[in-house]
Amino acid sequence: MSTSDKQTNPEIRPFWPPLVAGIALGLVLLLTFVLSGHGLGASGAATDLVAGVGLQVAPEATKANGYLGPMVADGSPLGSWLSWEIVGVAIGALAAAFMAGRFRVQLDGSCSVGTSKRLITTLAGGFLSGFGARIAGGCTSSMGLSGAAALGVSAFVFLALFFATGLIVSRLVKGI
């Protein structure tokens, strides 16, 4: 079953084929390595946000924290490369969605599992993801994608467990 037997809306442009998107992503990743010396990331921006806002709201507690303290020793990490990169991701995704007629405000999954359950699954998923990324020292972008391109051993361990656990959990919990 493909698009041919479904109602198609010409306003909505199709997604790029995986091979095209993969080559484009690989070139963006290569450019990132060449420019910055490291790969792409995402969860680290949440860490910079927590450390930076923490320094404003609760400076003593943040400086005393074993994990956040060293990060704010040289000042706020809010203007870090990763913070700007995530602002860029937001702009890039917004532009792509608008240009392809794919921007739509919705609570995705509220029809399939109900609004209240969807709010719980997405919040719980985010928490697991944020906590797990801090244990690994990165998420799918930095550990999985960038780490694997740099041929890091830990990246492939990360990806193997990411896939195996996701496969099992998606059979136990219907989150979307």
Binding site: P18, L31, G37, V50, V169
Partner: protein, 200 residues
């Protein structure tokens, strides 16, 4: 000689805009599309990731061969294998339950998805939770199964880089071959139209 080690605002914004643009165009703003990877009905997540890994890894290798890139100048994640395993499992579980990972949730939010906003809040709360619980237990977890010899396959296991690239190339072909086989058996890949209609 590269890398430029430019960690300023323009460098960050440029890489981020391109990253976000590709993520949304790949369909990775949609949790329906993303979670279909774990239902094995749409393999776009692994097809795109493995293609990107091979393109970037071969590009880095060629640039080093051509003398354009300094050796050992690219950041490699530390080979702390216990942390990578536990963290990978939790991020995978979060992906299965929530439908996103941290990066794709930003792409989801900026293609209009409010559930992605809640996921982002969850990521921030998870980060705060980690910092709050950071102590002896989490420190020893992060220090377990550490490979002392090095972080890359070449340094840790003496596997030459061209051999690793060959293995990755083979894995890429396998992902496309078996992924497409699963996609033909299943209900078909998630189109942009279906992704916009949301999960039903």
């Amino acid at each position: 000689m590269f890398p430029l080690n430019d960690n300023g605002m323009v460098s960050g914004l440029l890489c981020g805009v391109l990253f976000g643009y590709v993520l949304e165009n790949a369909g990775f703003g949609s949790p329906v599309k993303l979670s279909a990877q774990f239902k094995l009905t749409d393999w776009a997540v692994f097809k795109v990731m493995f293609t990107a890994i091979v393109v970037a890894a071969v590009g880095l290798w060629l640039m080093r061969l051509g003398g354009l890139l300094k050796p050992d100048s690219i950041a490699v994640p530390q080979a702390a294998l216990m942390a990578a395993a536990v963290g990978g499992a939790l991020v995978g579980a979060g992906f299965a339950v929530g439908g996103y990972c941290p990066g794709t949730s930003v792409a989801g939010l900026f293609s209009g998805r409010l559930d992605a906003l809640v996921f982002v809040v969850g990521v921030v709360l998870g980060t705060i939770g980690f910092a709050a619980f950071y102590g002896a237990a989490l420190k020893s977890l992060k220090a377990a199964w550490l490979i002392a010899e090095g972080d890359t396959f070449t340094d840790a296991y003496a596997i030459p880089e061209p051999v690793m690239l060959g293995i990755l190339g083979f894995a890429l072909i396998a992902v496309f071959y078996f992924g497409s086989w699963f996609e033909r058996r299943g209900t078909g890949t998630v189109t942009a139209q279906q992704a916009l209609e949301g999960a039903r």
